[in-house]
Symmetry: C2
């Protein structure tokens, strides 16, 4: 998505350790106009899918999911991170390792909001090693729902999450895929 | 807001300890159509204010803020909860006590995304004791920004947050104010 790549080049900041800071428009301050264009693009890409619900994980996926959901006219469900959960049978749960925060979260969705009738589009801001998406897929499988696809804003193509998910036969659509970044020059190379 | 009160009556569940569960449409699964109506209502209420940014706090405020921001045509900034922050001077920070989670969070906003030129509308899902809003106001004051008002979806009118904020001269607009709830009968009484 040209508009997105331009914005990443203009406002993204490459940091050591393959970190890309896009908090001026994507995950701390949020450019809602850009999110609208992203929503339209996901709707175009997934127009052949009968999606009933958008699933994401707190916190940075929520704004994106909410805006995207308007174009599909479906509800959003966001999985919650929890440190101490009461597994009373009312939730689907899994564990997700966060490399950014160097810890493992329990992640839950109420059984009331995912069912075998649902056809799910997962939406998130970043795809790197894919742990968050793996966890969301676990929840979808627990519910017996159908995964229609995964919509990602920025995929770090030099990490293996996208490759691994696609090899499992999952439809992963990333609006920008970065093949390499250089924190000394600031250069960002996109895959086309 | 009639549509919202009807929805709370229909789908809200009153639990012991003055807990109102609205996670079927507001803060776990999100009814985006309802959020759009809420966005329009806040725009109507605050149409006389020159708002430059919507401020909220992760996680449940984010979807609301994103949808509301469309009607004001401004960016969203969400304050981040943190357990260990590096106070290197790049962020505004405060502490917020969460009664729900029985702990104190450090809450931060990057100095890049709040400035003395900003006129802020705070948006959140619930107002009870007002601790979250107090914290967001701290951040706005640190930045020297102007607080135009606070837009709340559900105010627990039997707790003192709204009263206290209004007594400070802050414009608080709640789309539904609950005067009392009964977890045995399920009754919810709204203020009109």
């Amino acid at each position: 998505m040209e508009l997105l790549e331009q914005r990443i080049k203009k406002d993204g900041i490459v940091k050591a350790g393959n970190v890309l800071k896009v908090d001026s428009f994507l995950n701390h301050q949020i450019d809602i106009k850009l999110m609208n264009e992203i929503g339209k693009e996901f709707k175009r890409i997934f127009s052949g899918s009968q999606i009933t619900k958008i699933l994401t994980i707190e916190a940075s996926g929520i704004a994106i999911a909410a805006i995207v959901a308007q174009y599909f006219d479906v509800p959003v469900v966001f999985a919650k991170k929890s440190r101490s959960i009461n597994l009373d049978g009312s939730v689907y749960s899994t564990k997700i390792e966060s490399f950014t925060h160097k810890r493992v979260y329990d992640v839950i969705v109420s059984k009331k909001y995912l069912s075998a009738d649902d056809r799910i589009l997962i939406v998130d801001d970043f795809l790197a090693n894919g742990c968050a998406v793996d966890g969301l897929i676990d929840l979808i499988e627990e519910a017996g729902a159908v995964l229609e696809g995964v919509g990602i804003i920025i995929e770090k193509g030099f990490q293996d999450g996208g490759k691994r998910l696609r090899e499992r036969g999952i439809r992963v659509e990333s609006l920008a895929i970065i093949d390499s970044m250089n924190d000394e020059t600031g250069e960002i190379v996109f895959r086309h």
